[in-house]
């Protein structure tokens, strides 16, 4: 086991973790505050990737910094779409039993996916320019692409910003209050109606960012979202619904399993996640870290 291999596994873990956490933290956030399980999360991830890649193909031959900004622009666009969806569609199902929420977000994912298909078609998209532009670094004898460092750093930066937002600002306080007890929050005069679209948009923004970040090194197809949704839910369930810590822990574990899997058993790597989820739920019906608080 060479040092080079270890380093590769370490950074791969961080990379997978970064992509996974951007989806899962959005999911946990949306569930924690709005109480909605967003089955359309994967579809937004896919949308983020497609929008990003389209932006890249418009703005070719630009300096790296512009490229970098494009990631954010793509995610913001998708986030705004999300912000529009919450008041129009999601709000109607809050009062209905849980099954309807799952069904509504499920339908949303179908609509989004076919809309993507309509505008972008079924052929895969590639855009490796940015990736190549950044080149590679050599660490302890292994060559490792610089882009991965950028992606990891971006996500960590976003996580820090999110932490600061939630725990050090007034809005963050409002969000946390609303997530703990919606009725209390309303009676304290917090404008929950205005808060919800923002939180939803934030969750979607993060998730789209995850998708966008994969574009420089992946083939972008319609299917990338569906496995991501399942894995994201798996992680959230494993870590315990609504627990941000659980999301981070779960993403690390799955990121690690995936990193190992790429090297050692690429054939079945995806099914491994399902099997792990299957096993965990069999033993701990409420996930590892959390308890699904049933709303009384």
């Amino acid at each position: 086991m060479s040092v080079g291999l270890l380093i590769a596994i370490f950074f791969n873990t961080l990379l997978f973790f970064s992509i996974l956490i951007s989806i899962t933290i959005g999911l946990s956030l949306i569930f924690g505050v709005l109480g909605i399980l967003n089955l359309a999360h994967g579809a937004f991830y896919t949308l983020g990737a497609y929008v990003a890649i389209s932006l890249f193909s418009y703005f070719t031959n630009v300096p790296p910094i512009i490229y970098y900004i494009l990631f954010f622009i793509a995610s913001v666009i998708v986030g705004i779409i999300g912000m529009w969806i919450e008041p129009t569609l999601l709000r109607r199902v809050y009062k209905l039993p849980d099954e309807y929420q799952l069904l509504l977000t499920f339908s949303l994912s179908l609509i989004i996916l076919d809309t993507i298909r309509y505008f972008w078609g079924v052929m895969p998209y590639y855009h490796y320019e940015f990736f190549a532009m950044l080149g590679n670094s050599e660490i302890a004898g292994t060559i490792y692409p610089n882009y991965y460092f950028v992606a990891i750093a971006t996500v960590i930066l976003l996580l820090i910003l999110l932490y600061l937002l939630l725990f050090k600002t007034k809005i963050g306080l409002l969000i946390r209050a609303a997530s703990m007890d919606k009725e209390m929050a309303i009676s304290l005069g917090i404008n929950v109606k205005a808060l919800y679209p923002l939180v939803f948009a934030l969750g979607i923004f993060l998730c789209a960012m995850g998708g966008a970040l994969t574009t420089p090194y992946s083939a972008i197809t319609l299917g990338i979202g569906s496995e991501m949704t399942t894995i994201a839910f798996a992680i959230t369930a494993m870590g315990g619904l609504g627990s941000l810590k659980g999301a981070i822990l779960g993403s690390l574990i799955v990121g690690f399993v995936r990193a190992l899997g790429v090297f050692y058993f690429p054939e079945i790597e995806l099914v491994v996640v399902y099997i792990v989820m299957f096993i965990i739920l069999s033993i701990k019906p409420y996930g590892l870290c959390g308890r699904y608080e049933r709303r009384v």
Partner: protein, 334 residues
């Protein structure tokens, strides 16, 4: 004079029928439906026979699925997996054991399905809501992956062809001859399954399941062993999916993994909601509409998912009772 007396007799008979309890009426309607479908078969030709048979088969998995959703509040995104177990058990038995008797094959599928279900259900009955949905989803995906990757055994994405089977030891010369007889076989199984389900949901057990759906803690507090009952409901529900899957193979003549991906699970959810998840007939109505839609929509547009999603949203927001619910509300207004 005679004419007037006849009218009165007729009126009395009608009055007596409407006084029969709602439950017994249900069985009558089911049998009536069966008889109608049995009679029309010689008049509808192979194409429509196929479609009706397909609709009946999907109705069975729909009914099973709705036992969990409408009557128990549990959304399962993995019924395609159970469907696949039934389907592939039958397929593999025809391929490797050279069994061609339909009855034996269906029986084998049920037995093997039950073995898996009993183990699976034990775990699944511990789970609620999203955990349950996810668990079933991962189960479905594992089955899908197995059928896909074990191509040495299952033929992978190339699929497996199902030969013309024998029914009651009768050999058939062509697929169409087989179809004409198979239609009645499917109809028979459909009727048995539907009547059983009807009795089940109107039984004390069925009513108790609904209570569990409404408030499972209160249910415990009136002495109901909630987990045990969920387990039983799970077994019955998934068994229907297994039976449905087993029936599908001989009809289509060809089975392949894509049939049982999570997309199909989603379609099962879709058709149940379309028909109306709070009504017994919902999944049946939904299955037939879904079958017809699936046949005709691809000729109009390739964006089947969009249509599914859009209609589903409309159903949720405007017609949560589904089509059957909408029809009922029209009748009540009269």
């Amino acid at each position: 004079m005679v004419y007037v007396v006849d009218m009165k007799e007729g009126y009395n008979i009608i009055k007596r029928i409407t006084l029969i309890k709602k439950e017994r009426k249900g069985i009558l309607y089911i049998i009536l439906f069966t008889i109608i479908l049995a009679i029309i078969r010689p008049f509808i030709g192979p194409y429509w026979s196929f479609i009706v048979a397909y609709g009946l088969i999907i109705s069975i998995v729909g009914l099973g699925f709705n036992l969990l959703l409408g009557y128990n509040g549990l959304l399962s995104f993995g019924h395609a997996g159970m469907f696949g177990i039934g389907m592939y058990t039958l397929g593999l038995c025809t391929k490797y054991f050279n069994i061609s008797s339909l009855e034996i094959l269906i029986l084998l599928s049920i037995i093997i399905g039950l073995i898996i279900i009993i183990g699976l259900g034990y775990v699944a009955s511990k789970l609620i809501i999203v955990y349950f949905a996810l668990f079933m989803l991962s189960f479905g995906q594992i089955i899908f992956a197995l059928t896909y990757k074990l191509y040495g055994i299952t033929g992978g994405s190339d699929g497996l062809s199902i030969p013309i089977l024998t029914i009651l030891n009768i050999n058939f010369n062509s697929r169409i001859d087989f179809l004409y007889c198979y239609y009645y076989f499917v109809l028979l199984i459909f009727t048995i399954c539907t009547i059983f389900m009807w009795i089940l949901v109107n039984s004390p057990f069925g009513k108790t399941l609904q209570a569990i759906k409404v408030d499972d803690i209160r249910a415990t507090y009136i002495g109901v062993p909630v987990r045990k009952y969920r387990y039983i409901a799970f077994i019955i529900s998934t068994l229907y999916a297994v039976i449905s899957g087993a029936l599908y193979g001989p009809l289509n003549g060809f089975i392949y993994p894509e049939l049982i991906s999570h997309v199909f699970s989603g379609e099962i959810v879709y058709l149940t909601l379309l028909g109306g998840m709070n009504y017994f007939a919902g999944p049946i109505v939904g299955s037939f509409i879904y079958t017809i839609l699936k046949v005709y929509i691809p000729t109009i547009t390739e964006y089947w998912q969009f249509i599914m999603g859009a209609t589903l949203i409309i159903m949720i927001l405007l017609f949560p009772g589904g089509i059957v619910g909408w029809i009922y509300s029209k009748f009540k207004k009269r």
